[in-house]
């Protein structure tokens, strides 16, 4: 059985406008440029094995994206990281590589830092409301109204350079995913104001709280 190598990479700056589909293409080409001995699927239309754990929304930044690849022959992981970083475009950087332990299915939560342009008090007021309702697309593509407050129960809010900075852990699994942008929608509805928000994904976690690795 071929080893699966899990790469953790960041996606920041200009690269945050790269959609998930484009990212797959970009990464495929990067591993080719780095001349990494990738394993190709068999069959007529052979393509390299490359999978991503939890696609990031367009416009979000992250320091915790993962990409799994399979190698035809073993190689030194430090070398792998260095070779990839030498050929990646601005905004994409591999932070580490290790043999994958957990299956993607165990992924359970993601932590985010949300940077807003409103005062911390505004965010705190919203979090103190009895409920924070927002429309959310269900898996069946219909809309339903949910209260997102329970998901933000453990959020911490501080005052940063431009305003409120919130750190929060949200569900991120095949069963349920809460997109942090829902908070901005709810906040804007709650305050009647058009605030803006930058999103940075900080980490991916398993159900028992250990990092996804």
């Amino acid at each position: 059985m071929l080893k699966t190598v899990r790469l953790v990479f960041s996606k920041t700056g200009r690269a945050k406008y790269v959609s998930h589909l484009d990212l797959v293409r970009t990464m495929t080409r990067a591993v080719r440029r780095a001349e990494i001995p990738l394993w190709y699927t068999e069959g007529f239309n052979r393509h390299p094995y490359l999978t991503f754990a939890a696609p990031l929304s367009l416009g979000f930044e992250s320091v915790a994206e993962t990409m799994d690849i399979r190698l035809e022959e073993d190689m030194d992981y430090a070398d792998l990281v260095a070779r990839l970083n030498a050929v990646l475009p601005e905004g994409l950087q591999v932070l580490s590589a290790a043999e994958a332990v957990a299956k993607a299915g165990v992924l359970s939560a993601a932590t985010y830092r949300l940077t807003l342009d409103c005062p911390a008090e505004t965010v705190q007021a919203a979090l103190a409301a009895p409920e924070l309702l927002v429309e959310k697309k269900t898996k069946k593509k219909t809309m339903k109204t949910i209260d997102i407050l329970p998901h933000f129960a453990s959020a911490t809010v501080e005052t940063g350079e431009t305003g409120a900075v919130m750190t929060v852990s949200l569900p991120c699994s095949s069963a349920e995913t809460v997109n942090p942008s829902l908070f901005l929608t709810a906040l804007n509805a709650f305050t009647g104001h058009e605030w803006t928000m930058q999103v940075l994904r900080l980490g991916l976690f398993q159900a028992d709280g250990t990092p996804f690795a």
């Binding site: 293409r25 080409r29 080719r32 475009p89």
Partner: protein, 613 residues
């Protein structure tokens, strides 16, 4: 501006078209460069980024330490609306600086329908449209590309045009500009000096007068400039700059792959084909050069596919040897070679098999005309037997789809020739069913696509009238009526677009007013059918008192002064007249490798003109 821009990116479709920062894009320190060049492709990012010529010049300019070349494309409507709303002028993708502050704004003119986008981009950049309204405080606006062979409809807007191949002449102009900058730059003096460089055409230094009937009376050089301007060619392609890397876009573009140029020009001389004449003579790269350049490009881009780029690729003299060499590394590296339609009958079995494991480009043929008589008239050297033999072979190899390209409205064409298109399609269908081992349960699709003939400058058909809309539409209907099987799927180009193309392709300077007016009325990206509004265009012509039929549908006498007569592409008028007469006799002319027909391009003493036959 940057912060404001960032806030727009998330409000538009495919933002990575506007962000820059793609792999291999070049960033320099603006304080350390002498010349900033905005390379503009007057179409959307997906189209412009697919264009090989732009990639070559982008890399070559940036190879100069003191030149910084950036890419600029036409923003799509959503982005443009936001840019206008927030007062963001057109910017270079690399620096995100407004191109208004650059030294040069350069356009590549690939097709006539992009002219409105040229004006639109100047306007978005905040630069006056007319060259005369731009003083030293504005960038120089330059243009090149195939349409520069008759640039007259844009003459009032562009400061100078590059004729022919750009690699050398562009840098000569940039270097001259640096000299002039150093000693105090005066635009008029600079343009006058440029006019002495071979391959540079400064339209303001030529005066055009007209006869009462609208034809050109005289083209008069001013200020002692040369009466004719000759195009430039690169003499030795093996020693000419070729990029070892391409910018690799994030978003999917039209041709998302590495491209290796294998030769320039075409030996065939199909009489309707402008490319076949304006790029003469044929000059090839060696197998070694192509092999090295292809491998370098694939390594630096990571592309999983590359294509061999040229006109009529199967005419490369060492094709089999080349493919052999390329496959030696492409196969183990999982890189596909994509080939334009080739005469596969010439290949050895082994090579055909190796190519088969790679992705196959579709099986396409361009007979262009439906009968042998008309194919002879247009000098399209492809016989029905050749087509049927090749498709039969391909059908035996398991293919089930063939595309056939034709033109309607060709000179001397009759309804019989139109029926010939349907007949040829039918014969291809029959060839499929005649194959005893055809795949079970599978049918065949023959796609027949018919475009409308557009007479172009520097071709033997430059004097020919284009069919009127009514004639073209009648022929299209006749084609529909002549097809009797569902196995043939028909498609055609809009005749209205072709009419406008015909007007602009052979237009004169009076069309500058038309373009300016079209621009004022908001026309942009006319190559996209959703943007093209024919009736409004006709209104513009009416309001400018110019008749499209004068340009498109009139047979021009050989003696008439053509708007591009002061431009010299090597191919002589005497040769083109000879070819025009032969067309009317349905007599073919041998290709350059069979015999030289003395077209005039031998003046450079290069390539096929000096090969041993």
């Amino acid at each position: 501006m940057n912060k404001q821009l960032e806030s727009l990116f998330l409000q538009v479709q495919k933002p990575s078209r506007y962000t820059g920062g793609e792999l291999n894009s070049v960033t320099k320190n603006k304080d350390e460069v002498a010349v900033r060049f905005a390379f503009c492709f007057p179409d959307l990012y997906e189209v412009g980024m697919s264009h090989l010529g732009m990639k070559i010049l982008y890399s070559q300019f940036n190879n100069e330490p003191d030149v910084w070349c950036e890419r600029v494309f036409t923003p799509d409507s959503d982005m443009e609306a936001l840019m206008r709303q927030h007062d963001i002028p057109l910017y270079g993708l690399e620096s995100r600086d407004p191109i208004r502050a650059f030294d040069f704004i350069g356009f590549t003119l690939q097709y006539e329908m992009s002219y409105t986008a040229v004006l639109h981009m100047l306007d978005l950049a905040g630069v006056p449209l007319r060259a005369a309204d731009r003083d030293e405080g504005f960038p120089l606006v330059v243009a090149g590309g195939p349409c520069a062979c008759n640039p007259e409809p844009l003459a009032d807007f562009i400061d100078l045009f590059f004729l022919g191949e750009g690699e050398e002449v562009d840098l000569e102009v940039i270097n001259l500009y640096k000299e002039h900058k150093a000693k105090g730059y005066n635009k008029k003096a600079f343009l006058r000096a440029c006019a002495d460089i071979e391959g540079v055409y400064v339209p303001s230094l030529y005066d055009v007068s007209y006869n009462e009937d609208g034809t050109v009376a005289a083209i008069t050089p001013l200020d002692g400039v040369r009466p004719t301007v000759k195009k430039r060619i690169i003499k030795d392609l093996n020693n000419c700059y070729y990029p070892d890397s391409f910018v690799v876009p994030y978003t999917d573009i039209v041709f998302d792959r590495a491209q290796s140029e294998i030769f320039r020009g075409c030996i065939r001389g199909c009489r309707f084909c402008q490319a076949g004449f304006i790029y003469r003579p044929v000059r090839e790269k060696s197998v070694d050069t192509i092999d090295r350049q292809s491998h370098d490009l694939c390594r630096s881009t990571g592309y999983e596919e590359f294509s061999l780029s040229s006109l009529s690729t199967s005419d490369y003299t060492h094709l089999e040897e080349l493919l052999d060499r390329l496959l030696d590394w492409a196969e183990p590296e999982h890189t596909n070679i994509s080939l334009p339609s080739l005469r596969i009958d010439g290949f050895s079995e082994e090579l055909a098999n190796r190519l088969n494991v790679l992705r196959r480009a579709g099986l396409t043929f361009a007979p262009e005309a439906g009968t042998q008589r008309l194919r002879d008239a247009i000098n399209k050297n492809l016989t029905e037997e050749e087509i049927l033999e090749t498709v039969s072979k391909a059908f035996k190899g398991g293919w089930t789809a063939v595309k056939l390209y034709f033109m309607t409205g060709l000179p001397t064409e009759t309804l019989e020739d139109i029926e010939g298109i349907a007949n040829l399609g039918q014969k291809v269908v029959n060839a499929f069913y005649a194959n005893p081992d055809k795949p079970k349960g599978k049918g065949v699709t023959v796609s027949v696509s018919a475009s409308c003939f557009v007479p172009k400058p520097f071709t033997p058909f430059q004097w020919e009238p284009q069919d009127t809309l009514e004639q073209l539409q009648e022929k299209q209907q006749h084609l529909v009526d002549s097809v009797h099987t569902k196995k043939i799927s028909l498609s055609w180009h809009d005749a209205k677009t072709s009419l406008l193309e015909a007007v602009l392709a052979r237009g004169d300077r009076r069309l500058c007013r038309v373009l300016e007016e079209a621009h004022k009325r908001g026309f942009n990206l006319d190559s996209w059918s959703e943007h093209f509004d024919f009736d409004s265009w006709m209104q513009v012509f009416a309001d400018c008192n110019l008749d499209p039929a004068f340009y498109a549908n009139r047979r021009r006498p050989y003696e008439e002064i053509l708007p591009w007569d002061h431009l010299d592409y090597g191919v002589t008028k005497a040769f083109l007249i000879r070819e025009n007469k032969l067309a009317h006799e349905a007599t073919t002319t041998p290709n350059c490798r069979q015999a030289c027909s003395g077209c005039g391009a031998a003046c450079w003493k290069e390539g096929v003109c000096v090969e041993n036959r």
